[in-house]
Symmetry: C2
Subunit: 389 residues, 2 copies
C-alpha cells in the first residue's frame, strides 16, 4: 500500500525545486502557496471560488477553530473538510503562533502554554500532545508541531530559549504522533542566527518528520536577513522532504524564497490587503481606490485570467471600493489569490524548463516592492498582522 | 417590428395574474420579485450568482448611482448593464424616494426638488425631466417617474399635496419621454385613502404609461390597510398593463399582494435581514445566529435548492455569522433571494393551474410573520429602512 503522504522532487535548478506532494485529499504541485482560511473560510470566498482559483491546498488555524466553533463540533460535523465544504488538502497550524501573538498569552509551564481566549477571556492550556490531538480531530492532511515563535529582533538569548522550548515540544509532538493518514511537520526556529538555525535544523530533522517548516521569519528582520537565512536553510534541510516557509506570501518574497529552495508558503497578507483594495499587478501592488482607476475600462490587470479581470472593469472595482460594497473585497481577493497561484505555476514551469534564473530576474526588475513589511515591523504590528488571518 | 416593451397577462385567477413582460434584455415571468442593487451591486453577490438564483430583473437606485460613481461615468462605461456586468433586465427608480427619505431634502421649487448629497453634503437638483434623462443614460429597461413619497400616517392634506406634486411631475415626465427601447412607468400615490387613490389612478393612467406603480405603501400603515389599498388598486388600474408595488418584499406581503393583483415588487428587506443572519423558511424568518443552529448538520432549510443549502450545514452558517466571516451574509443573501424567487415561481404556477387560493391559504397558515415592519414604523425608521438598499 502506498504511503498516504508522499513528496517527490521532480526537478531542481540551482536551489529551486519543483515537486509533487501526495495527500489523502489530492496531489499538490510545488512550489505552492496556501490561502489562509483562518476560521474555516477563506475570507469572503466560497470553497468553489478557491477551487476555481486553483489553490491546491489551504491553511486552517487551530487556535481560532479550537475557540470557535470548537474541535468537538467540527469533529462531530465530519471534520474540517466536510464542515467547510472544501475537499482538497488542508494544512492546519498548531495554534501556537496565535497563542503567543494575540496578546492573551499567560505563561509557559511544564505541560505547555496557558493563554486566554481573545473572544471571551477564558483560560486554556495547549500542550504539544493536545495540539496534535486537536489537529488529528480536525482531520487536516498536514499537521504542525506546537512551537514558540518570537520576533527576530529580540535578544539572542530569548530567541535561543524559544528555540529550545520548540525542540522540547517537537520531541513530545513526535512521541504522541501515531502515523496514519495525516502527516506531521516539524518546525525549525532560531531567528536570524546561522548558528541557532543549524542547531535547530539538526535537532528537528533528527526526529524524522514528514516535512519541515521554517518558522520565526518575516517577524521583524530585514528582507536581506530573511533571504539569507532561507538560503542557508536549504543546506540544512533534507533534500527529499518538503520545506514550508511560514507566514511569507508577498509576490517578491515568494519569488525570492522559491529561488532559495522553499516548497510551501502561507500568508494572510494577500487576502488582507485585497480587502483594503490593494491588488497585485506585474508592476507591484496598486491601490484600486486610487483616482487613476476611476474610469479604467479594462480590467485591473491586462491578460489576467481571474474572474474579476474577466468580468469587470477597473472602474467598477474602484466604484465598489468607494461605495463600500461587499463585492469589492471579494473580487480583489479572487484577483490576488489567482495572481499568486499563477505566479507559483509559472515558477514551477520555469524550474522544470531550467529557465528560472531569467524568470526571477525579469520578475524582480518589473515588480516594485513595497516597504510595508518593514514599516509594520517597526510599528510592532507584525504579530497582529500575522495572527488574525 | 415588435414593441421593445410588451406585457401580456397569460392567466388570471380571482385578482391574481400570471403574465410575461418583454424587455430589451429578456423576458420576465410575472409575478416577479426584483432584488435591489442599490449602488450597482446586489450586496455581496456577483451578477452570476444573481442569475443562478433566477432573478429575472433587478433594481438600480438612480439617487445613489447619480451621486456615485455618477451618470456620466456609467454612460461612458456603456450603461449600467455593462458597468455592473448584468445583462438581464434592469428597472431603475427615479431617485425621488431617497431624496425625500435620506434626510438631506432641502425644498421643492418650481423646477423640482433640491437636496444635499448624503456623501459630501453637496447641493443637487432633481427635476422630472432630469430624472428621466438620468435613467435614459443609465440605459435601464424600465424607468420610473419622479414622485413624492410620504408616510401614510401623515395628515391627509399633506398626503394630498404630495399626490398632486407627483401628478404634476408625472405629466412633465411623460412629456419629456420620447419612447424608444426603455419603458416609463407612472406612480400612483394617495396614502391609504381610497378617494385619493382613485383620483391619483385616474390622473396617472390618463397619461398613458407602459406600466403603473403603486407608491406610498409599506410606509407606516397597518398590514390590513396596505392589503386593502392594494386590493382596491386592482380595480383602478388597467387590466392589461403591469402593476408594480414599490418597496414591498417580505414573503407574507408578496403572497398577499400577488393574490390581490400585483405583478412586480422590490424591497431591500430580504437582503438586509440576510446580512444580519435572518433567513426565510416555510415557517417564518429564523435567526441563524440562534443557538439552535449550533450543531445542525442539515441545511438551514430542508429541500431548498439554493447554493447555500446545497453545500453547507446550518452549523457552518451559524459559525460564519458568529465568527463574522464575510461568507455568512453572502450565503444568507443567496438563500433569501432564492427563497423569494421560488416563491414567485410557485405563485405563478398556482395561478396558471387555478390552485392559487389553496396555495395562499396553506402558505399563510404555515408562515409565522414578524411584526418588524410595524415596529420599525413606530420607531420612525421606515424611511431609512427603505432608502439605503
Amino acid at each position: 500500500m502506498p504511503e498516504p503522504f508522499q513528496f517527490n522532487v521532480v526537478t531542481t535548478y540551482g536551489q529551486a525545486r519543483a515537486g509533487t506532494m501526495k495527500t489523502p485529499h489530492g496531489t499538490i504541485n510545488t512550489p505552492a502557496f496556501m490561502p489562509v482560511a483562518t476560521q474555516g473560510s477563506v475570507k469572503g470566498l466560497s470553497p468553489e471560488e478557491v477551487r476555481i482559483i486553483g489553490a491546491p491546498i489551504i491553511l486552517g488555524n487551530s487556535y481560532h477553530l479550537y475557540l470557535r466553533p470548537g474541535i468537538d463540533l467540527i469533529e462531530n460535523m465530519g471534520g474540517l473538510h466536510s464542515f467547510m465544504g472544501w475537499n482538497g488538502p488542508i494544512l492546519t497550524d498548531s495554534g501556537g503562533f496565535q497563542v503567543f501573538s494575540m496578546g492573551s498569552f499567560i505563561r509557559i509551564n511544564k505541560e505547555g502554554v496557558i493563554f486566554r481566549s481573545h473572544i471571551d477571556g477564558s483560560r486554556h492550556l495547549f500542550t504539544p500532545e493536545k495540539a496534535v490531538e486537536n489537529q488529528r480531530r480536525l482531520g487536516s492532511d498536514i499537521m504542525m508541531c506546537l512551537d514558540q515563535c518570537i520576533a527576530t529582533d529580540k535578544e539572542e538569548e530569548l530567541i535561543r530559549r524559544a528555540m529550545l522550548q520548540t525542540h522540547h515540544w517537537a520531541a513530545r509532538s513526535r512521541e504522541t504522533y501515531k502515523g496514519g493518514n495525516q502527516a506531521l511537520f516539524g518546525i525549525v526556529q532560531g531567528g536570524v542566527s546561522r548558528g541557532l538555525r543549524e542547531e535547530s535544523a539538526q535537532f528537528i530533522t533528527s526526529l524524522d518528520f514528514s516535512g519541515y517548516a521554517v518558522g520565526g521569519l518575516a517577524v521583524g528582520e530585514s528582507k536581506r536577513e530573511m533571504y539569507d537565512i532561507v538560503s542557508y536553510m536549504d543546506q540544512l534541510l533534507p533534500k527529499d522532504q518538503p520545506r514550508y516557509l511560514m507566514g511569507v506570501g508577498s509576490p517578491e518574497d515568494l519569488v525570492q524564497c522559491v529561488a532559495r529552495g522553499m516548497d510551501q508558503f502561507d500568508c494572510a497578507l494577500p487576502t488582507r490587503v485585497a480587502r483594503n483594495g490593494a491588488v497585485f499587478t506585474p508592476h507591484g501592488r496598486v491601490d484600486i481606490r486610487s483616482r487613476k482607476f476611476q474610469d479604467v475600462k479594462g480590467p485591473i490587470q491586462e491578460k489576467c485570467d481571474c474572474y474579476a479581470c474577466n468580468h469587470f472593469s477597473g472602474a467598477y472595482l474602484h466604484h465598489l471600493f468607494k461605495a463600500k460594497e461587499l463585492l469589492g473585497p471579494r473580487l480583489a481577493t479572487i484577483h490576488n489569490l489567482r495572481y499568486l497561484q499563477r505566479l507559483m505555476e509559472e515558477l514551477r514551469s520555469h524550474i522544470l524548463n531550467g529557465t528560472i534564473d531569467a524568470y526571477v530576474k525579469d520578475f524582480l526588475s518589473r515588480y516594485k516592492t513595497t516597504n510595508e513589511v518593514a514599516r509594520l515591523a517597526q510599528k510592532k504590528r507584525w504579530l497582529e498582522l500575522r495572527a488574525t488571518g
